[in-house]
Amino acid sequence: MRYRVEHSTRFTYADPVDLACHMVRLMPRELPYQKVLSSEVVADPVANRRVEHVDHFGNRVGWLFLEQPHPRFTVTLHAEVEVAFPAPPAAASTPPWEEVATARQGGPGQWQAAEFAFPSPMVAADPDVAAYVAESFPAGRPILVGIVDVLRRIREDFSFRSGVTTIATPVGQVLAQKAGVCQDFSHLMISGLRNLGLPARYVSGYIRTKPAPGTARRRGADQSHAWVGCWLGSALGWVDVDPTNDLIVADEHVVLGWGRDYGDLSPVRGVILGGGAHSLDVSVDLEAV
C-alpha cells in the first residue's frame, strides 16, 4: 500500500518569538516493511540551523533553530511511503506468555526488547491497570491470544473521546474514566503488559484518513496516531497492534518511530523565548495513492 503523508503543525504567537529551537520526530523511519520513497520536513520561517540524527531507538530526529524574531512557525512533513506489514503469526501457535515474560533478564536475543519491559516516565506501573490487563493472560495462554483479547476489551470498555485527557494523564485515571484517545489506550495497554514482564513499546505514526472502500472510518485519523508494539519472543519478534481500533496493524498505518512512551516521540517539541500565549493548529492527511 502506498501513502502520501502530510502533517502540518502551526504555532501562532501573541508576541513575536525571539529565539526558538524545536526538536522534531516527523520523519518516517525505514523498515523492512516500510519503504520511505520520499520525505521532507519544511519549516516556515526557514531555520537558521538544522541538524539531523538517528536517536537511541533508531528513529530519525531533527533540530530546527530559529534565531530571528517570528510571529508564527509552521513545520510540515511531506512524505511518500510504501507499507506492507508482515502477516501476524497464527495467534494460537504463539508461545505461552510466561515464556516471553523473562525478557528483563536480557542477554542474547532479548536484550533490546528488555528495555521495553520496565516502567518509563509516562507509563508508570499501576495496580488497577495491571489487574485489568492481567485478566486476559491466564496461565499458559499463547501470548498473541492474550494480546488480541486485550484489544477487544479496550475497544468494548473504553470510549474514544478527545479533550478528557492530556498527555500527562496517568493510566490509572484513564482506566477509571474509561475514556481517552489513542495515546491513553496505548499507554494503558503498555503499562499492563510490562507489569507482566512483557516488552511493549509505543509506536508513533499515522492511520489512513479516508477508509478503504467498504470499511468504516478509523478512529484517530486526521491527527497523529499511536499504537503498541508487542514482543512475542526472540523467534517471532515484534507485532504492532492498534488498541484504539481493535486491530493488528496491516496496511492502514505508517510508522514514524517508536520508544518507551510518548515522551520519547513527541512529534514537535520546542523551547521558545518570548511569544506570550500561543495557539496550536495541527493537520494530518494520510491518503492512499
Binding site: 504555532f11 508576541d15 525571539d18 529565539l19 529551537c21 524545536h22 526538536m23 537558521n48 540551523r49 541538524v51 540524527h53 538517528v54 536517536d55 537511541h56 531507538f57 533508531g58 533540530w63 533553530f65 534565531e67 528483563r104 533478564q105 536480557g106 542477554g107 542474547p108 536484550w111 528488555a114 528495555e115 520496565f118 516502567p119 506501573a125 492530556t166 498527555i167 500527562a168 510518548y262 515522551g263 520519547d264 513527541s266 512529534p267 514537535v268 517539541r269 520546542g270 523551547v271 521558545i272 523565548l273 518570548g274 511569544g275 506570550g276 500561543h278 496550536l280
Partner: protein, 861 residues
C-alpha cells in the same frame, strides 16, 4: 558473603592491643601539647572560624547549618595512599570503558555481561547521549572522579560508592586544611604532609587543555569560512582568543554553592547559571556586558537531567536549550559528560570484577564492598534469610541513603520486602558492615566514630592524578552510610604523610598562550552586573529607610509632639508610606503616633514581612550578597555578613522598646557606611564596582526627590520646618549651618540638597555620578543613557534657580512637590532603561509540545 558483619569497625588510631599506630604518634603528641586547652576547645575554635567565614554559604542568620571540621585529622601513610589511588585510577578507566560501551555499541548488554536493568532502568542513563553514528575521536566521558571508601575489619579499604557526577566535598576538604593550618598551626609542626594545591593546578591545566583544543578548532573553522555569515551574528563579542571555561552551578539555592564558588576561583573559570548561557549557531555563549563570549568547556555542577529542556527534563528552569546538540557537535565539551551519572549505580559493583577482566584484561585492583543485585533470585534468597544483616540500596540510585532493615519495625520491613518483590531490579544489597572508627573531639576527650573516606581524582590528559588528601566524613549515629553528600555534617582533614620515597609534586607548566592585558571588565556576566546593581539599590534603600525611621522615632520618643514636629511627622510618614515601610493606615499621627510607632516596630518582623519592610530589605541584601559572593573580597563579604548578623540580632531583641529600635537603625546606618567605605577602598573601578555604585546612586537620587517633595507639600507659611527636615534627611544640617548659620531660607537649602554637585548627600552629586558611570560603562558605545542623567541634572538646577529668582521663595518652594515627584519617576525610568539595556532579561522561555506545564525560565540569549 565473605565478611562477617561486626558491631563496631576497627580503630584507625589504635591497633587492638592498646598500642598507637605509628603514623598517629605525631598527631597525638602535637594535640596533647597544643596550648588551646583541650580538644573540645580546639573544636570550638574551628567551629567559630567556619561560622565566621560562612563556609557553606550560610545566609546570615538563616540558621542553615554548615560543615564542621574535627580538629583531629585522619592520617594515611603515603605508601598506603598510593596503592589506593592506583586502584582508583584503574577503576576510573574501567568506568570510562563501560560508559563508552553503553553509550556506543552496547556489547556488554548484547552479550549478557550486564543486565538490561542497570542501563535501561537507570534514570541517569541519558538516551540523548546515545545517538547512533561514529564517535568523535578523543572523546572522553570522565575527566574527574571520586570514590567513597570504608575500611573493613580486615584492614582493607573498599569502595562504597563511585562518584562521577559532582564529586562534591572538594571545597570542604580544602577549607578543612586551610582552617586547621590557621586555627591550630601547632598540630602541623614537625609533620611532613603532602599538599592539596598541586591537584587544583593539575585540574586547571587539564581544563585549559580541553579548552585550547576547541579554541584551535574554532579558529581553524573561522579561517575556513571567513566572510560567510553563518558564524557571525549580532552581539557576538569580537576577537576572543583564549578558551572560554565556565562552571555551571544551579545557583545560590544549591547546597554546594560555596563549593562551586570556590572551585570557579581555584580553577579560574567563570561561574555561570543556565540563564547566563545561550546557544547560537550550534555553539554556546556566555552573555556578558560586552556581548556574547564563546564557552568551550563547561564544568558541570548542575543536575544532568536539567541541562537541556529540549532533550532532557522539560520542566527544569535552569537548562540551556540546544546544549546537548552543541555537545554532540563538539563545539563545547561538558565535563564530565552528562551521561556519566549511570556509573553511580550501586549495583554495578557486582559486575566490576568481570568487567575489568573483559574490558581492561586485568583483575580489579580495589574491591567494592560486597554487593548483591536483587534482580537475581539467588541474591534475593540470600537477603531474605536475614534482612537485618543487610543495607538495602537503590540498584541504580546512588544518591539516596541506604535503608537499614535492622532499624525497621516488622510492618515497615514487610513493606520493604513487598517493594523488592514487586520491582526487584530496583534494589541492591550490601552487608551491614561497620566502617573503621577514628577518634573525634568530644566534650571529654576523644570519641571514636565511623568514617567514610572520599578521594578525588582528575584526568590530566594522560593519566589519573589524585588529590593528596581527601574528605573523611564522620558518620554520626543518626546518619546513613550511603547516598549523596549531605548539606551539613562533620568531617576531617585527610593527611597523606610523606615518607622519604615520595616525590614532591611541583605545579605543572601552565599553557603557553599570552593573556591580553585588560583594564575593563567586559566579560562580567550580565547576571552578575544585574545582581550588583540591585545590591547597591537595596543597601541604599535600607540606609534611607533607617534614616527615615530614625528621624521619625526621634520625634515620637519625646512623648509630646510640638506643632512644627507635627508638620515634619506628616511629611515623614508620607515618605515612609511611599517607601512601603509602613501601611497607609498607619500614617495618622493623631493620638501620639502610636500606630506609626507600632508600624515601624512591625517593619522589623521577619515573619510575614511585607515587601519594602526593613526585614525584607535585609533579606534581599543578604540574598544578593550571597549571589555576588564570588565578586567580593573576603573582607567585604565578612563586612556584609557580620553587619547583617548584628542587625538581625538587634532587630530580634527590640521587643517594642523605642530606644532599642533607634539603636538598630543606627546599626543599619553604620553597616551601610562600612559597606560603602569598603567598596570605595577595596573594589577595582571596573564593571562590578560600577554597577554597585550605579545602583546606590540611583536609589539615593530617587529617594531625595521623593523626600524633598513630600516635605515641601506645605502651604508657603509652613515651609520653614519642612526645610529643616529636608536638611536633616539629607544629612546636610551641619554643612548648611557652616554656610548660612541659622537662617533657614528655601533657595539656599534647596541649592545645597538639590543643585550643589559637591554635596555627596545631595541630588546633583548623584546625577553627576550616574552620568559619569553610565559613560564609563558605555565605553565607546551608545551614550544616550548618560545624556538622560545629564538632562535630569540640568532640569533640577533650573528648578532651584527659579526658586532663588522668585519674589516669594516660600511660595515657589511649595510649588516644587509635583515636579520633584515627576523627577523621581524619571529616575526610576532611567533605572529601567539600564536594566533593559545591560541585563536584558528576556521574556520567559516556554516549552511546547512536551505536555508539561510551561516552566518559568530565566532569560537566556
Amino acid at each position: 558473603m565473605s565478611i562477617p558483619p561486626s558491631p563496631t569497625g576497627i580503630d584507625e588510631m589504635v591497633d587492638g592491643q592498646g598500642g598507637l599506630r605509628p603514623h598517629w604518634r605525631q598527631i597525638v603528641s602535637a594535640i596533647s601539647l597544643s596550648d588551646g586547652g583541650g580538644l573540645a576547645d580546639l573544636s570550638q575554635r574551628l567551629n567559630d572560624a567556619f561560622d565566621n567565614e560562612g563556609v557553606t554559604g550560610i545566609l546570615p542568620g538563616s540558621g542553615r547549618h554548615s560543615w564542621r571540621c574535627d580538629p583531629l585529622p585522619l592520617p594515611i601513610p603515603a605508601g598506603e595512599f598510593a596503592a589506593l589511588t592506583e586502584g582508583l585510577a584503574q577503576r576510573a578507566e574501567l568506568l570510562e570503558a563501560v560508559l563508552e560501551d553503553i553509550y556506543g555499541a552496547q556489547n556488554l548488554l548484547a552479550d549478557g555481561v550486564l543486565p538490561p536493568a542497570i542501563v535501561y532502568a537507570n534514570d541517569a542513563y541519558l538516551r540523548p547521549s546515545h545517538m547512533q553514528g561514529p564517535r568523535r575521536p578523543g572523546h572522553r566521558y570522565l575527566d574527574f572522579y571520586a570514590a567513597d571508601l570504608v575500611r573493613g575489619a580486615d584492614g582493607a579499604w573498599r569502595v562504597l560508592a563511585d562518584r562521577t557526577v559532582g564529586a562534591a566535598g572538594i571545597a570542604y576538604a580544602r577549607e578543612n586544611r586551610r582552617m586547621l593550618q590557621r586555627v591550630i598551626p601547632e598540630v602541623f609542626r614537625g609533620t611532613q604532609l603532602l599538599q592539596l594545591r598541586p591537584f587544583f593546578d593539575i585540574w586547571q591545566t587539564a581544563l585549559q587543555r580541553l579548552g585550547q583544543e576547541r579554541a584551535e578548532a574554532r579558529r581553524f573553522q573561522q579561517s575556513q569560512f571567513q566572510g560567510q555569515t553563518q558564524f557571525q551574528f549580532a552581539g557576538q563579542a569580537p576577537a576572543q582568543t583564549g578558551p572560554g571555561i565556565a562552571l555551571l552551578t544551579p545557583g545560590t539555592s544549591s547546597q554546594h554553592w560555596f563549593e562551586h564558588m570556590m572551585l570557579s576561583r581555584e580553577l579560574s573559570c567563570a561561574l555561570v547559571e543556565g540563564g547566563d548561557l545561550t546557544v547560537r549557531g550550534g555553539a554556546v555563549f556566555l552573555k556578558t556586558l560586552k556581548g556574547l563570549q564563546r564557552v568551550d568547556v563547561l564544568l558541570n555542577r548542575a543536575n544532568a537531567r536539567s541541562l537541556d529542556p529540549l532533550e532532557l527534563d522539560a520542566g527544569s528552569g535552569i537548562g540551556v536549550p540546544g546544549l546537548m546538540d552543541a555537545a554532540r557537535g563538539a563545539t563545547i565539551r561538558i565535563s564530565n559528560d552528562p551521561g556519566v551519572g549511570a556509573m553511580e549505580a550501586p549495583a554495578l559493583a557486582a559486575w566490576l570484577p568481570a568487567l575489568s577482566m573483559r574490558l581492561l584484561g586485568e583483575p580489579l585492583k580495589i574491591a567494592s564492598v560486597p554487593t548483591l543485585w536483587l534482580g537475581e533470585a539467588r541474591a534475593r534468597e540470600t537477603v531474605w534469610r536475614d534482612p537485618a544483616q543487610w543495607l538495602i540500596r537503590g540498584a541504580t540510585d546512588g544518591r539516596s541513603a541506604a535503608i537499614e532493615p535492622a532499624r525497621l519495625n516488622a510492618a515497615e520491613r514487610e513493606a520493604l520486602l513487598a517493594d523488592i518483590a514487586r520491582e526487584p531490579w530496583r534494589f541492591a544489597a550490601t552487608p551491614a558492615v561497620a566502617p573503621s572508627v577514628a577518634p573525634c573531639a568530644g566534650p571529654n576527650g576523644m570519641v571514636p566514630k565511623p568514617v567514610v573516606l572520599r578521594i578525588y581524582m582528575v584526568f590530566d590528559g594522560r593519566e589519573w592524578r589524585a588529590m593528596d588528601g581527601g574528605l573523611a566524613r564522620v558518620i554520626e549515629s543518626d546518619e546513613k552510610l550511603c547516598g549523596a553528600l549531605p548539606g551539613e555534617g562533620l568531617s576531617k582533614d585527610v593527611w597523606i604523610l610523606n615518607d622519604e620515597r615520595s616525590d614532591i609534586v611541583g605545579p605543572p607548566a601552565l599553557p603557553a598562550f599570552a593573556v591580553a592585558i585588560r583594564r575593563t571588565a567586559g566579560d562580567l556576566p550580565s547576571r552578575v552586573a544585574d545582581n550588583l546593581f540591585w545590591l547597591g539599590r537595596y543597601v541604599e534603600r535600607l540606609e534611607g529607610s533607617a534614616r527615615l525611621a530614625r528621624a521619625t522615632l526621634h520625634r515620637l520618643a519625646r512623648g509630646v509632639i510640638m506643632p512644627h514636629e507635627l508638620i515634619e511627622l506628616e511629611a515623614l510618614s508620607r515618605s515612609l508610606e511611599q517607601a512601603d515601610l509602613i501601611p497607609a493606615e498607619a500614617t495618622g499621627i493623631l493620638g501620639g503616633g502610636g500606630a506609626l510607632l507600632s508600624a515601624l516596630m512591625g517593619s522589623l518582623q521577619e515573619r510575614g514581612r511585607n515587601s519594602g519592610s526593613i526585614a525584607w530589605l535585609i533579606g534581599n541584601v543578604a540574598r544578593l550578597t550571597e549571589a555576588v559572593r564570588d565578586r567580593l573580597t573576603g573582607d567585604m563579604y565578612g563586612a556584609f555578613t557580620s553587619g547583617l548578623r548584628q542587625i538581625r540580632y538587634s532587630a530580634r531583641h527590640v521587643n517594642g522598646n523605642v530606644e532599642l529600635l533607634s539603636q538598630t537603625m543606627v546599626e543599619i546606618l553604620r553597616f551601610s557606611a562600612s559597606v560603602a567605605g569598603l567598596a570605595a577602598e577595596n573594589m577595582v573601578r571596573g564593571g562590578g564596582w560600577m554597577f554597585l555604585e550605579l545602583g546606590r546612586r540611583m536609589e539615593r537620587a530617587r529617594a531625595i526627590c521623593s523626600q524633598v517633595g513630600f516635605a515641601l507639600e506645605q502651604p508657603p507659611a509652613r515651609v520653614e520646618p519642612a526645610l529643616r527636615l529636608v536638611l536633616e534627611l539629607c544629612d546636610s544640617l551641619i554643612t548648611y549651618r557652616s554656610r548660612y548659620l541659622t537662617v533657614l531660607q528655601p533657595a539656599p537649602v534647596l541649592d545645597l540638597v538639590l543643585a550643589d554637585d559637591g554635596n555627596p548627600r545631595g541630588l546633583a552629586f548623584q546625577l553627576v555620578a550616574i552620568a559619569d558611570l553610565l559613560d564609563q560603562i558605555a565605553g565607546q558605545g551608545d551614550r544616550t543613557l548618560s545624556a538622560v542623567a545629564t538632562g535630569l541634572l540640568e532640569d533640577i538646577q533650573a528648578m532651584v534657580t527659579r526658586v532663588a529668582d522668585a519674589a516669594d521663595q516660600s511660595a515657589a518652594a511649595s510649588g516644587l512637590p509635583e515636579p520633584l515627584h515627576g523627577h523621581a519617576s524619571r529616575i526610576l525610568a532611567l533605572s529601567d532603561q539600564v536594566t533593559r539595556h545591560y541585563f536584558a532579561l528576556l521574556p520567559a522561555a516556554q516549552t511546547l509540545g512536551s505536555g508539561e506545564a510551561a516552566p518559568s525560565f530565566r532569560g537566556a540569549a
